[in-house]
Point group: C2
Chain length 139, copies 2
DNA sequence: GTGTTTGCAAAGTGTTTGCAATTTA
DNA sequence: TAAATTGCAAACACTTTGCAAACAC
């Protein structure tokens, strides 16, 4: 009887292919960090240092490029709550956020927890891209 | 019969007094730009260049300090929609915003135009500071 | 091979800070 | 006069850019 290390299947390659992005070493590695596991809110710097500590050699510039490419193809969603820092959310489905003002942390709020019954029409000639609800809490 | 230039009464001095801020030349001038007239969403750079073109000599650092002091005492509300730029809203009453993603412009949505019927409780030990609804539109 | 992607370092943006000089009460 | 405020320039944090080298197909 042998011990087996079970490594969860990575969807990273499939996701890149589906998005039409070349699965380069860096993109694949970053995609694994981002998408294998729980949903997360991560900044470029965080992802970069996480990559380094996993022995993935990648430059910060590439991390930025990659995050934006992923956002462009809908793999990520960018969230801005804090002046001067962007977070990227691996959960691209409809939902909202708690924002902890002191710590700068974000936490998901499922869409159904918010009763948003009426939203104004977009001004003429424009389309609504998204309706964001941010519940700011102290702490 | 003489012509009279009617200058609207400025509430700036009263507002500073009420807030316990020393009415220095710079604060007073900035307060007049901010509060005499329609409500507005303005960035530090915008306010600074507006001050300069009104022959108000004030440094950018002081504009930043002043905007933050005004925010701290509740005269302004800071809005973050765009990574790397803060806007300050002279309308501190309950309301929401349209955000025009391409132009970076903000536009008020009166509170009653949004049907927000249910908001999750703050996680234990925290208090909700504010609930922001941002309707993002293309353009 | 050919076009794409990467890394680096430099430049750019918006914001904050330290401190001496000035101003306010 | 004592304390608060200001201006300046430098420092900062985060992000983007330009281009040669490396890589994927």
């Amino acid at each position: 009887m042998s011990m087996v290390t079970v490594r969860p299947y990575s969807q990273a390659l499939d996701r890149l292919r589906a998005a039409g992005l070349r699965p380069t070493r860096q993109r694949l590695a970053l995609a694994r960090l981002l998408f294998d596991g729980e949903d997360r809110h991560i900044s470029a710097e965080q992802l970069h240092s996480e990559a380094l500590s996993n022995n993935i050699r990648v430059s910060l510039a590439t991390v930025y490029n990659t995050l934006h490419q992923f956002t462009d193809v809908g793999l990520l969603r960018e969230i801005v709550v804090d002046a001067g820092r962007s977070y990227f959310d691996t959960n691209t489905s409809d939902h909202h956020h708690f924002f902890y003002e002191k710590s700068g942390r974000l936490c998901d709020i499922p869409a159904e927890m918010v009763g948003l019954t009426r939203v104004p029409d977009a001004p003429q000639g424009f389309n609504i891209t998204r309706v964001e609800v941010i519940v700011r809490v102290d702490g």
